[in-house]
């Protein structure tokens, strides 16, 4: 008797989920580990933005999204999409380093954006998408919220070569007392809209704990560019948890210093650095 009751409940649950969830056309497993940030829509389509924690913040952001018809009945999985983030400042507007958009899974697209700053009371970010479906061009645009990070993950600077750069920490997002894979993105700010990935440079790392006599850690590996992605890779050793300042020196392809100074007894920190706290 009990079993029967339980079975019918189960059946009921199955039926209701099938019939009413017309909006959830994406299988759940595709969205595993993702949290929705917001939905952007125009008269014909809507686009759902996702990230790992449902936020966008200063620095490197991996962004996942889907595109679907406004009524949500159909996923558009083969559109050609361009995107562009814009920072609207008082006197000017600029974009930010970003990747191409790639297909992630059946129904999802992905890419990254490096927000060079957080929003504030008067300055804000927006994002627009231009997409083509069967030769027809559409666009979507909306303001987005970019939160500040507690510690510096991204920095924009003028190099000794008089070029403007954006440098951002990509990994580790979850640092441990261990040997961590460290990934950094380096972009040149060619103009307000274009931020090409810089190749052939070298990034020297010197992690320090200012709260503990500015001690370092052993056996770190300086970062070099891997051809397989847009980033520079190395190894970062963290001997304890807490606040670490990752001092950096940027060398160009000729081994010349572009930015940053070595840390020693007198000089506590490089002018080029990112921070970790865990």
């Amino acid at each position: 008797m009990k079993f029967k009751y339980f079975f019918s409940l189960l059946l009921l649950a199955g039926l209701t989920s099938c019939s009413t969830d017309s909006e959830e056309v994406i299988p759940d497993n595709e969205l595993e580990g993702l949290v929705k940030i917001q939905t952007i829509q125009n008269h014909t389509h809507k686009l759902e933005l996702y990230s790992a924690n449902g936020d966008l913040q200063e620095g490197y952001n991996k962004i996942v999204f889907n595109l679907q018809t406004l009524d949500g009945r159909e996923m558009i999985s083969d559109a050609e999409i361009q995107w562009n983030p814009m920072m609207h400042m008082e006197s000017m507007a600029h974009s930010a380093p970003k990747s191409e958009i790639n297909k992630r899974t059946e129904n999802l697209y992905e890419g990254y954006i490096i927000f060079t700053m957080a929003e504030n009371e008067i300055e804000y970010w927006s994002i627009d998408f231009d997409y083509t479906i069967d030769g027809e061009v559409f666009s979507l645009e909306a303001p987005i919220t970019v939160l500040p990070t507690e510690r510096q993950k991204v920095t924009s600077f003028m190099g000794l070569d008089d070029k403007r750069y954006v440098l951002t920490l990509v990994e580790p997002t979850d640092p441990e007392v261990a040997t961590n894979e460290v990934t950094i993105g380096l972009f040149q700010m060619a103009n307000m809209m274009e931020y090409p990935v810089m190749d052939g440079y070298r990034i020297l790392i010197d992690p320090r704990m200012p709260g503990m006599g500015n001690h370092s850690s052993p056996n770190n590996v300086h970062l070099t560019r891997f051809a397989s992605d847009d980033f520079y890779h190395g190894k970062l050793n963290l001997t304890m948890s807490g606040y670490w300042r990752i001092n950096l020196i940027l060398h160009n392809e000729h081994g010349e210093v572009v930015k940053g100074e070595p840390v020693d007894e007198i000089n506590e920190s490089s002018s080029l650095y990112v921070e970790l706290e865990f």
Binding site: E176, V177, A178, T179, M209, G211, M212, G213, H215, S216, S217, P218, N219, N237, L238, T239, M240, S241, G242, Y243, E277, F278
Partner: protein, 666 residues
């Protein structure tokens, strides 16, 4: 008046004697590599001990084989043959216990009290391998137990006070014994404030408070079988370590055991004894009492040990045979939390001992062969297997920063062997022996992570790839006994291969603020250690005894560099007078200047010193109950001094007057 004059004369005699002494309570079985120091009731009853309520550390210090490293007034670290605790095995009634402090603030000996113990048995080199693999030797602390004595109820009260540091001591004990049941129970309390070095210089952070309770009970389950349960609970709070940058707010231990013994279980075994034990140690180290620290930190540590032994002995013809099978499982964990001065920053945390598990199993066999009345040969062999494993994945990851290829666990086999030949001729006896032993690296040596050594100012990093340390040992001794004279000379020589020591690596940056650098444990091809002692006692008059003792140590690395913490030529001399219920003792103790020292270890030598002590005691009977009163003065002339084994050269106690009272209730 005459009496006073007499004591003064005695006293100067004591100073005039240049050599040293073997105290009566340090008994040695002819020439021997074993020394027994009587503690607790055994010496109380005899009334011979000049300061019966002395700490266990003070008792052990009397042995000619043992030196104590002092980091303060409390918890000294015993060295056997000039070797620190990594190279020795310290047990309580055969039980292995491991310290929980990464800075060696809590040697095993700090978790017991004199009231728990009847004696300390100190064995040199491989003679001490019965309870585990060792190089320097072993100390087995034997519990005080009433036994199936039929003495019924006995009790005692003790109280003591010392002028220097305001030491207060109080204790009581109660025991009961009949032919099928016994128990002992005792409690001891000690409290001390900062002590003063010679010249009235206060040694800050040298206070401590300690409580110790112990209980033991035995039942006969048949004429030949008995079971015994025992517990020691020890708790020290507010312990200062003037030589170190940190103190201890709490150090506590619970030590429990259950033993089964069987006399003559089968015809050819005389005695068989099996024990299961467990002990748990908690150590809370912090710098909350210190002013002006660059960063506040807590460094707690824990050590739990589960173990057993089963040993049997028998005599077969002229063979005295002993077999001991033992094992333990230890868990050592220590961590460090630092509180940044900038409150917006998160706490910093690391494992300093990454939850290291040690599993040891060993077997020890000994055959004492009496060849004839004059010659005897003692052979022993041991084999241990030790497995170390880093249990905590994050601890393993942190060590892999230094050793990317390191494995989670490591197994080692530890063989040992000893043979000793002894001969007796009339009043003379001679002995010579050769031994071989191995040991595995300690938890700190293998897996320590940024352990600060305040002596050399280096952060130490363990090295999981260390090979075993191996020692070849030679020893020889001669003794002579006459009517009034007794003299003995002993020497032990150790050739230690793959000697483990920290060596600086200047490519690495230290973690501790102000540290000089990083040392990583490495191995010297070999090091040599020599320990020699000479002791003599002479009966000047019927009730007047003179004792003298000289100790010499030498330690060198393969390239003739001096090893750290090597004792310079030291001496001790005493005169004992005893007449009926009154007794008196005066002694001097000192060392020549330490001119050979290890600069790399931060040593700077130690000046010569001589300290004079004097004590008197009287046994009284109050309503037929015995009362012993002891009065004394240590460092009578208030000399300012420190020795080779005083960590960071912190000075020792200046003049100290003490009173010890012991009241026996029967």
């Amino acid at each position: 008046m005459k009496k006073i004059l007499f004591t003064v004369v005695l006293f100067f005699l004591g100073i005039a004697t240049t050599t040293a002494q073997e105290k009566e309570q340090v008994t040695t079985d002819s020439v021997s590599l074993k020394e027994i120091i009587l503690i607790g009731k055994k010496q109380d009853v005899s009334g011979k001990e000049p300061k019966p309520l002395a700490t266990l550390d003070e008792y052990l210090e009397k042995s000619s084989k043992v030196d104590m490293i002092k980091r303060g007034a409390y918890a000294w670290e015993p060295m056997i043959n000039g070797m620190t605790t990594e190279r020795s095995v310290i047990t309580i009634d055969g039980m292995r216990i491991f310290s929980a402090c990464t800075d060696k603030m809590d040697p095993v000996t700090s978790y017991v009290e004199i009231s728990n113990l009847s004696e300390a048995s100190i064995s040199s080199g491989q003679m001490g391998a019965e309870n585990g693999a060792t190089i320097g030797g072993g100390i087995d602390l034997k519990r005080q137990k009433e036994g199936f004595t039929n003495r019924r109820w006995n009790g005692g009260l003790s109280a003591g006070g010392e002028s220097n540091g305001g030491v207060k001591i109080a204790g009581f004990d109660l025991s009961y014994g009949n032919d099928s049941f016994y128990f002992n129970s005792d409690f001891m309390y000690r409290d001390a404030e900062n002590y003063f070095a010679g010249g009235n210089e206060e040694v800050r952070y040298s206070q401590f408070t300690k409580y110790n309770y112990s209980g033991i009970a035995g039942f006969k389950i048949s004429n030949h079988q008995a079971v015994e349960g025992s517990v020691i609970l020890d708790r020290a709070i507010d312990v200062g370590y003037p030589a170190l940058p940190m103190d201890v707010s709490l150090a506590q231990a619970a030590i429990v055991s259950l033993m089964y013994e069987h006399h003559q279980p089968v015809d050819f075994i005389e005695h068989w004894e099996t024990k299961l034990y467990f002990n748990s140690i908690e150590h809370q180290m912090d710098d909350s009492e210190r002013t002006n620290v660059p960063v506040r930190m807590d460094m707690p540590g824990w050590s739990d040990t589960y173990g057993y032994y089963s040993k049997a002995k028998t005599t077969l013809g002229n063979h005295g045979i002993k077999v001991n099978i033992n094992g333990f499982y230890n868990k050592s964990l220590a961590e460090m939390t630092m509180y940044p001065n900038d409150p917006s920053e998160k706490e910093m945390f690391m494992f300093t001992w990454p939850n290291v598990r040690t599993l040891y199993s060993g077997i020890f066999l000994e055959d004492h062969i009496s060849i004839n009345e004059k010659y005897s040969l003692q052979l022993s062999g041991s084999l241990g297997s030790q497995m170390n494993e880093i249990h905590d994945p994050s601890g393993l990851q942190s060590l892999r920063i230094f050793y990317p290829e390191m494995e989670k666990s490591k197994a080692r086999l530890l063989p040992g062997f000893n043979s000793r030949f002894q001969t007796d001729f009339r009043n003379w006896n001679f002995s010579a022996g050769v031994g071989y032993g191995e040991r595995a690296p300690s938890v700190s040596e293998g897996y320590g992570f940024y352990l600060f050594n305040s002596f050399d100012g280096f952060d130490y990093i363990g090295n999981p790839n260390l090979a075993k340390e191996k020692s070849i040992e030679l020893n020889a001794g001669a003794g002579m006994k006459r009517k009034e004279w007794k003299a003995e000379i002993n020497g032990s020589y150790f050739h230690i291969m793959d000697y483990i020591i920290g060596k600086p690596d200047f490519t690495l940056s230290p973690m501790t603020i102000g540290a000089n650098g990083i040392k990583v444990y490495e191995q010297l091809p070999y090091a040599t250690i020599f320990h020699g002692d000479f002791s003599v006692s002479y009966k000047l008059l019927n009730n007047l005894n003179w004792n003298g003792k000289v100790i010499y140590n030498r330690g060198r690395s393969h390239n003739k560099e001096i090893l750290p913490l090597v004792q310079p030529l030291s001496y001790f001399s005493s005169l004992e007078f005893r007449s009926g219920l009154f007794s008196m003792e005066t002694s001097i103790d000192g060392a020549v200047e330490k001119t050979e020292f290890s600069r790399e270890f931060g040593e700077s030598g130690a000046p010569s010193y001589t300290v004079v002590n004097i004590s008197a005691s009287k046994v009284m009977y109050v309503h037929q109950q015995k009362l012993i009163l002891k009065l004394g003065a240590e460092n009578l002339f208030d000399a300012f001094y420190y020795t080779f084994s005083d960590w960071n050269n912190i000075p020792r106690k200046g003049r100290n007057l003490f009173i010890n009272l012991k009241y026996f209730i029967q």
